[in-house]
């Protein structure tokens, strides 16, 4: 199974950064990445399918932000894990994100090694 990851962020360089950081995995066909610039685009992607195995979303975004997206995903796609990425690090924010049903909370600057571990956990749930 190739894990499909939806990355939601309004920063224009994000798709390029993810493609470079996951270049080996992409080349090896170990992961599939899709990108959305905000919550509304993300929902459109989710509705269009095929289903995603994980959503990595920024919190601060125009239109529909990360927390609203999380809420929506919890309702409509409850099995898809959501990882929130935010510059607002801190225990309170982390706890709040987890209490809202996020799989994890990743602070910016993003540690891609940790992110890759999360992706690997999704593709190998038992491992």
């Amino acid at each position: 199974m190739i894990p499909r990851i939806l990355v939601v962020d309004d920063e224009v360089d994000i798709p390029d950064l993810f493609r470079q950081r996951f270049r080996r995995e992409l080349k090896a066909g170990a992961v599939e990445l899709a990108f959305a610039a905000n919550g509304l685009e993300a929902i459109a992607c989710l509705q269009a399918g095929p289903p995603f195995d994980m959503i990595l979303t920024d919190v601060n975004m125009p239109e529909l932000d990360g927390l609203q997206l999380l809420d929506r995903v919890r309702q409509d796609w409850p099995t898809v894990p959501v990882v929130l990425v935010s510059a607002y690090s801190g225990q309170t924010n982390r706890e709040r994100a987890l209490s809202l049903g996020a799989r994890d909370f990743v602070a910016k600057p993003v540690d891609f090694r940790h992110l890759k571990t999360l992706v690997s956990d999704v593709s190998n749930p038992t491992g």
Binding site: D13, L17, R21, N60, A87, Y88, N93
Partner: protein, 515 residues
Amino acid sequence: MTLPQTIVLGSSDDAEARRSLDEEMRVQQALAVVRVLPAMIVGNSGATLIVALNFLSAAPSQFLAGWLVTVHLLLVPLALRWWRFHGQPAPRRISTRHIRKIDAWSLAMGLVLSVGVIYLFPLNGATGEVLMYLMVVSLACGAMASIWMVPTACLVYAAPPAISLAASIVIYGGIGGAIASLSLGLCTIILLIFLRINFRGFRDGVMAIVERDNKSREIDRRRAAEERLAASLAELQKAQSQLIVQEKMASLGQLTAGIAHEIKNPLNFINNYAEVTVELLEELAETVGRIAADPDPDDKAELDDVMASISGNLTRISDHGRRADSIVRGMLLHSRGDVGERQMADVNDVVEEAINLAYHGARAQDQGFNVTIERDLDPRAGEVSMLPQEITRVLLNLLNNAFYAVRRRDASASSDYNPTVRVSTLRLPTRLRIRVRDNGTGIPADVLSRLFQPFFTTKPAGEGTGLGLSLAWDIVVHQHRGELLVDSTPDEFTEFNVLLPLDGAAAPGTGLAIR
């Protein structure tokens, strides 16, 4: 007492100068009452004694001397006064030196007259010599009193001899009594004339002294009050500047979280692109090694791909580094105490920056905070001469207030409420309008009238200094010669309009802030 050192008459200010001089002279005269009082007492007592002794000795020549002395005491001051004020041609220049010169002449003349009277009617024997000396002293004192032109002094000085003469009528009768009666009558007439002439001047002089003393006391009081006021003002200014710094720090604190968010985004790219570039370089080394050993077209393509990625990554690192630098610079500008430099600034850019900072600041405080920000920025807005940091500060304040209002309404409103803040710019013929409108709680009329007052706040203690809008007012109205208008309907909307003149020259230059 200081007289005007030199007053030039004949100029257009003649009347004023003369009035001032007259008043000053009246003051001088009245003051002289106090100055010559001891001389009057001594001189008067001496003269009284002489006249009394002359009566007792009953010598006609000495009695006549007593009479002449008495009359002289009244006549000399009158004559001197007339001579001083009426006998002199009006000098073009009147100075204290000039007046003192006249005083000296008066004194000399009085003394000569007095001594002359004594030598015309000499007293006999040792007692007579003592009396003569006493008379010289008393006459000198009398002359001093007269020279100062003090009517009361002369009156007091002359009264006892007159009483002595009256007593002589009772005691001696006859020729002596007749002469004494004549003396008394003459004295009385002269006194009345003298009083008539001098009373008004004396009264005015005393009034002037009282007035001046009052003025002097008033000046002292005012000076003390002014000193206290200046001290209080300095304290207040110090407190005000501290409060302004506090307000700036408070708004900076609100912004810090937003700025931190802003800066972490470029840092995210810098760190990750740097790391991925290191990985790419490792791959590059491997590929170069393979090409050196066994050239392969696929390896060549990969090499080109990696090289392109490295080059792109380094460019992105540089771009995001600059972005972070710009954010830090912006933060430093906001934390600085001064108002920055007046410059042509793109209004829409300033508005966008303020929206970004305010939004992220609000989000940092409350992650659950949600607001729709509508932008309607006039593409013709262009550049306006302004102090960009200060205008950003104004907009941050207006936006923070707008966010606060929609958040409050959101907490109590029904679920279909959509918190919205609309920011628009519009270039008018002579001015540029920046409008911040929110659909929050609105502002009641009684609050509206006090909105720009310093320290007025409706926020709970600790949440607002009450200086935000008053500083905004100062920045827009005083620093930019613009207008800051507010309109609101409770539970409907609040709208602030910042109007900046397009003509930058009409606004004051840098540094005219109240800070």
